[in-house]
C-alpha cells in the first residue's frame, strides 16, 4: 500500500458564520487548501464531504459543495460519523489514495449549525444516541451523555470540578491566541465555577459551543506529493473503532472504549508503545466536546494511567512546555465544534504545527516531527485516532 501525505490545508474562521451559506463556507476552506497545494480543481480526482447536517437545509451536501466549488463531475460522497465525521472524511480520501484508486484527493468537513435555532439544535443532537430508549423516553441531551461519564469518573477517581475547569481555562488560553477560534478570550476559574449548569456536573464552560465552520485537506500519493511539495506531512496510521449507540450497553462509564481501541490500532501500526505514547508526539489534538472528554482522552491515548488523567490537567502538563501539549489551538471548547469539520480541523492544526505554521503563542517545539489526533463521534459511538509525521513512513 502506498504512503499518503497532506499537501495542502484550508481552515475557515469558526463561529457564527451567518455571512455565508453551507457551500460558500466549504469553498473558503477548499480554496485555501487548493492554493496551498498549488493545484486546481482539475487535479483533484476524488473528493469527499464530511457533514452531519439535519440542522442545515441542504439534504445532499456533497453535491452542492461539489457544484459550488467546481469539483463536479469528480466522484464524491457524503460521510457521517457524528462528531468524528471529519476524520471519517479524511479516512475515505486517505484510503482512496492508499489503495491506488486516486493519486490526489480532497477531504472537506463542513457544518453550519446556525441554520437552525439553538433549541432545535439541542433537540436534534440529543437524538444522537439510541433514539427510542434514550431520547424519546428519557430526554437525554448531548451534554447529558458526557455528564453521565463525568459523574461516574468523578465518583470513581475523586476528580474535582476544578480539575474540569483547568481544561476549560487551558482551551480558552490558547483559543485567545488562535485567529480561527470562535472564542478568543481567556476565562478564570471563578468564571468557570459560576457558569450556568447544563447537565450536572457539566456547566456551560465545560461545553463546546454550537458552531459553523469548514476545514479541508488535499492528500496525495507519495510519488505525486514529492513532485508538489518539499514539506509533506504523512499520515502514518489511523485506528478506527465503534461503540454501542445505547450507553447502557457499555460496562464502563469512566473511559471511551472505542477511542482506546482506535488508539491501540494506530499505535500498533506505527510501532508506538501505548504506555509511553506521549514521548512520541510533539502535539496532540483530542476530542474535548466537554472537558471530561479531554481527561478521558489522556487515559485512552496512554498519556496518563487510568484514573490519573485529571492529574495531568491539574498539574498543567498539557500546556506548551509540559509533558505533552494538547489542544493548543483552543480545542473544540474554544476553537468551536462544527461537527462535520472538527476532524479535518484537527488534521489541519497538526499539519501546521509540524510545519511551524501555527499562530503565534500556540506553536509547539517540534522535536519528534509527530502529532496525533483523537476524534470521537457521539459518546464513543465512533472513534478515529490518526498519527501524522514529517518523516516518511517506512512502508
Amino acid at each position: 500500500m502506498r504512503n499518503v501525505a497532506i499537501i495542502g490545508t484550508g481552515h475557515t474562521k469558526f463561529g457564527v458564520r451567518t455571512d455565508v451559506n453551507l457551500q460558500e463556507l466549504a469553498w473558503e476552506a477548499i480554496k485555501q487548501a487548493l492554493e496551498e497545494a498549488n493545484l486546481d480543481q482539475k487535479d483533484i480526482q476524488y473528493f469527499v464531504v464530511g457533514n452531519v447536517g439535519s440542522w442545515s437545509a441542504e439534504e445532499l451536501p456533497a453535491v452542492v459543495v461539489g457544484e459550488y466549488s467546481d469539483l463536479t463531475p469528480k466522484g464524491t460522497m457524503r460521510v457521517e460519523a457524528a462528531c468524528a465525521t471529519g476524520s471519517a472524511a479524511l479516512r475515505d480520501a486517505y484510503l482512496a489514495i492508499k489503495s491506488g484508486e486516486a493519486d490526489i484527493a480532497l477531504a472537506v468537513g463542513v457544518e453550519q449549525m446556525h441554520q437552525s435555532p439553538n433549541p432545535q439544535v439541542v433537540e436534534l443532537i440529543g437524538r444522537a444516541g439510541d433514539y427510542f430508549w434514550e431520547f424519546e423516553n428519557f430526554g437525554l441531551t448531548f451534554p447529558g451523555y458526557y455528564a453521565l461519564h463525568a459523574s461516574a469518573y468523578m465518583a470513581k477517581y475523586g476528580a474535582k470540578e476544578e480539575d474540569l475547569g483547568k481544561i476549560a481555562i487551558k482551551s480558552h488560553h490558547y483559543g485567545a491566541r488562535n485567529p480561527y477560534a470562535q472564542f478568543q478570550k481567556e476565562i478564570t476559574m471563578d468564571e468557570y465555577l459560576k457558569s450556568k449548569p447544563v447537565a450536572y456536573p457539566l456547566k456551560l464552560l465545560d461545553s463546546s459551543p454550537i458552531t459553523d465552520g469548514a476545514a479541508a485537506v488535499v492528500l496525495a500519493s507519495e510519488e505525486v506529493a514529492k513532485k508538489i511539495t518539499d514539506s509533506p506531512v504523512w499520515i502514518v496510521s489511523q485506528g478506527v473503532a465503534s461503540g454501542t449507540a445505547n450507553l447502557s450497553k457499555r460496562t464502563d462509564f469512566t473511559h471511551i472504549e472505542a477511542a482506546y481501541l482506535a488508539a491501540q490500532q494506530a499505535y500498533s501500526r506505527a510501532g508506538i508503545n501505548f504506555d509511553e505514547a506521549w514521548r512520541f508526539f510533539d502535539v496532540a489534538e483530542v476530542h474535548d466536546c466537554f472537558t471530561i472528554a479531554e481527561i478521558m482522552a489522556y487515559e485512552d491515548l496512554g498519556f496518563a494511567k487510568r484514573g490519573e488523567g485529571y492529574l495531568l490537567a491539574r498539574e498543567e502538563q498539557t500546556y506548551i512546555g509540559g509533558k505533552i501539549p494538547v489542544n493548543v489551538d483552543g480545542g473544540l471548547k474554544a476553537k468551536g465544534h462544527p461537527i462535520g469539520a472538527t476532524g479535518i480541523s484537527m488534521a489541519v492544526a497538526i499539519t501546521r504545527q509540524l510545519l511551524y505554521r501555527a499562530p503565534k503563542g500556540t506553536q509547539v517545539n517540534v522535536k519528534h516531527g509527530m502529532g496525533i489526533s483523537h476524534n470521537v463521534g457521539g459518546t464513543g459511538h465512533y472513534a478515529y485516532v490518526t498519527i501524522f509525521s514529517t518523516r516518511r513512513p517506512s512502508s
Binding site: 433537540e123 453521565l148 462509564f253
Partner: protein, 176 residues
C-alpha cells in the same frame, strides 16, 4: 398541565412564529430578516414537522408486560445473553424468538446527570435526573431517577410509572 395544554402552548408558539414571518414578508416583500450580527437570513417558508412511526412488533411483549406490571427483558437460551432494552434476535447465535424474562427490580446507580438545558420537546418538565443503574442480573438500565437526593453508588429500585402529562406507561428508578 395536561398534554393538551402542552400541545396548545406549542401550537401558539408556532402560529406566532408564522405570523411574524408573514409580517416580515409584508414589510420587505421577501422572508428576509437580519440576525444579531447584521447578516441577512432567508427564513425558510417550507416548514416540516416530524413525528416518526417506530415499529415495535418484535418487542410488543415488552409493552404488554408494562401493562401487566412487569418490566421484561429477553434472554437467549443458547448463549444466555440477556437483552435490555429487549430485542428478539440474538445476533451472536443468529436465532430469533428469544425467551422473555422479568428484570430484577434492585440495582445500583453507576452514573447520573441532571438535565438543566432541555430539548424543546422536554421543556414542559422540571429539570430531570437521568441515571444508569446496574441491576442485580448485571444488566444496565437507563431511566429517570425519581429522587430528591442522588449519588453514584446509591441503591435503587426499578418500577413502572405513568409519564405525566403524556399519560403513558414507562419505567423509572427510585431510591431503594
Amino acid at each position: 398541565m395536561t398534554i393538551n395544554d402542552v400541545r396548545e402552548k406549542l401550537q401558539q408558539q408556532i402560529s406566532q412564529l408564522i405570523s411574524s414571518l408573514d409580517q416580515v414578508v409584508q414589510m420587505y416583500g421577501m422572508p428576509i430578516i437580519q440576525d444579531k450580527n447584521g447578516n441577512p437570513l432567508w427564513i425558510d417558508v417550507r416548514e416540516m414537522t416530524l413525528r416518526y412511526q417506530i415499529p415495535i412488533k418484535k418487542v410488543q411483549k415488552f409493552f404488554e408486560g408494562l401493562k401487566e406490571g412487569k418490566i421484561l427483558a429477553t434472554k437467549c437460551n443458547k448463549c444466555g445473553t440477556i437483552y435490555f432494552p429487549p430485542q428478539d434476535d440474538c445476533p451472536k447465535c443468529k436465532i430469533s424468538g428469544l425467551e422473555w424474562v422479568e428484570m430484577p427490580d434492585e440495582g445500583e446507580l453507576v452514573a447520573y446527570t441532571i438535565i438543566n438545558v432541555k430539548p424543546p420537546s422536554f421543556s414542559h418538565y422540571q429539570d430531570y435526573i437521568v441515571g444508569i443503574a446496574k441491576m442485580k442480573n448485571g444488566i444496565n438500565v437507563t431511566a429517570w431517577v425519581n429522587s430528591k437526593e442522588v449519588k453514584v453508588g446509591m441503591k435503587v429500585k426499578l418500577r413502572i410509572t405513568k409519564r405525566e402529562p403524556e399519560n403513558y406507561l414507562t419505567y423509572e428508578l427510585i431510591p431503594a
